[in-house]
Amino acid sequence: MLEIFQYDFMVRAFEAGIAIGVIAPLIGMFLVVRRYSLMADTLAHVSFAGVAIGLLLQINPIFSAIGFSVVSAFGIEYLSNSRRIFGESVLALFLSGSLAVAVIILSLAKGFNANLFSYLFGSISTVSTTDLWVTLTLAVIVFLNVVLLYKELFFASFDAELAEASGLPVKMLNIMMVMLAAVAIALSLRIVGVLLIGALMVIPAISAMQYGRSFRTTLILSVIFSLLSVII
């Protein structure tokens, strides 16, 4: 069994998988309790449009995916706060809109090939060394952000108004949260694929909520569930 680790690509796959397995549910948990579960899927599709842009411009798709989804995350937060459109409708708009953009760009870039499938369905064994380093670095940043701002993120998710009355910059925290989500999702693209990122972020959180009483325990459980699913 252990001889699979003699192969570099398996080691890389494991390392990247574990990094994503930790951060996806950490972010996913905050999205779920804020009734923002669909944000994960939306940002996944947005990242996919980012990948398409990367293929068209011939830059590493992981970078264009991160850039494009961070910018869109800003747009989503802005439109949801404007109160002119329901938050949910904003997600629907970005989800289908970015998929349409992706399809157009891909046909322009003549990108309908096998490589594309590795982004749609994920391809953990083809993670390159560059991908691995980008993933590990950004995963550590996302992880530290959540750990260091744990009490603020928890408070703002639990009751935004109370948090604001206590002097927390709730709007800034919300923007930070969606940006972290955007980064985490763009990173997961290679590993789990556009179509299943939502599952990796949301399902461990939902499962953990069935067992944990405290937020802390629930969060830790969700990471354990996710790691188990990634490794197995």
Binding site: V33, L148, L149, K151, E152, F154, F155, F158, D159, E161, L162, A163, E164, A165, S166, G167, L168, A208, M209, G212, R213, S214, F215, R216, T218
Partner: protein, 257 residues
């Protein structure tokens, strides 16, 4: 008689939502040790007033001073403990224990990245004890009744060790039996713990019987003074119009529960 230190001072405060005036030229002072009830019809601006005091909304004109400081410069948010209106219907599925919720009361005293200390835990434990919810420490918030959840949010407000406690319609969704103990608890906080209390209610009789001073609000200040002097038919008529029916306030009666 020497006047106590002013905690909250409003001077000519007006507020409008999209050019609809909600509050007009409001001026009053809340001093240390007061137990103030704010009454008025729905849409009369009670909650807006509270949001202005909390800094969640900014007045269109006029000045607000908190503890002697202009509200723009006021940073010691922990000095005002706030119990919002909708606590009895907060998210029932949110995975958090009573302890975790009460502990958020300490956040106003901590900086970013700062971790909770032993002292924070001690204060949180004491706040839960005062509020009578220590035994629910590790219970998930969604599994409590309306009255219990009410106390959790009061404990949360107390955990910031405030000087002023503001409660917005605290008895909505709490059964009558629990209301009685709740009012006793507030009176005790005011007299024994020397907490200044501001308490919003649509229940005129509860306010007149439980609080010391009353402020009647219907876009502007209709009255402000000692509870027993003020709440006569004449004032109520001005506040609610002529057909206000008085509903007897009797928290001792369990018939309705």
């Amino acid at each position: 008689m020497q006047l106590e230190e002013p905690y909250i001072e409003l001077d000519n405060v007006s507020f409008s939502y999209d050019h609809n005036p909600v509050l007009e030229n409001l001026s009053f002072t809340v001093r240390k040790g007061e137990y103030l009830g704010i009454i008025g019809p729905n849409g009369g601006g009670k909650t807006t007033l509270i949001k202005i005091i909390l800094g969640l909304l900014h007045p269109t004109s006029g000045t607000v001073k908190l503890f002697g400081k202009d509200h723009h410069d006021f940073k010691e948010k922990h000095r005002i403990g706030y119990v919002p209106q909708r606590v009895t219907q907060t998210d029932k599925d949110f995975p958090a224990t009573v302890f975790e919720v009460v502990r958020t009361g300490r956040i106003a005293r901590l900086g970013f990245f700062e971790r909770f200390t032993k002292k924070d835990t001690e204060v949180v434990n004491r706040a839960m004890e005062i509020s009578g919810i220590s035994r629910y420490r590790d219970t998930q918030i969604g599994n409590l009744s309306g009255g219990e959840r009410q106390r959790v949010f009061i404990a949360r407000a107390l955990a910031s060790e405030p000087d002023v406690l503001i409660l917005d319609e605290p008895t909505v969704g709490v059964d009558i039996g629990a209301q009685k103990t709740f009012y006793e608890f507030l009176a005790q906080l005011n007299s024994e713990h020397h907490l200044t209390i501001i308490f919003i209610s649509h229940d005129v009789d509860a306010v007149s019987q439980e609080t010391k001073t009353v402020l009647c609000l219907n876009h502007n200040l209709v009255c402000h003074g000692l509870a027993q002097d003020l709440l006569n038919e004449h004032i109520l008529e001005r506040l609610y119009g002529e057909h206000k029916q008085r509903v007897p306030h009797n928290p001792n009666k369990h018939d309705h529960a």
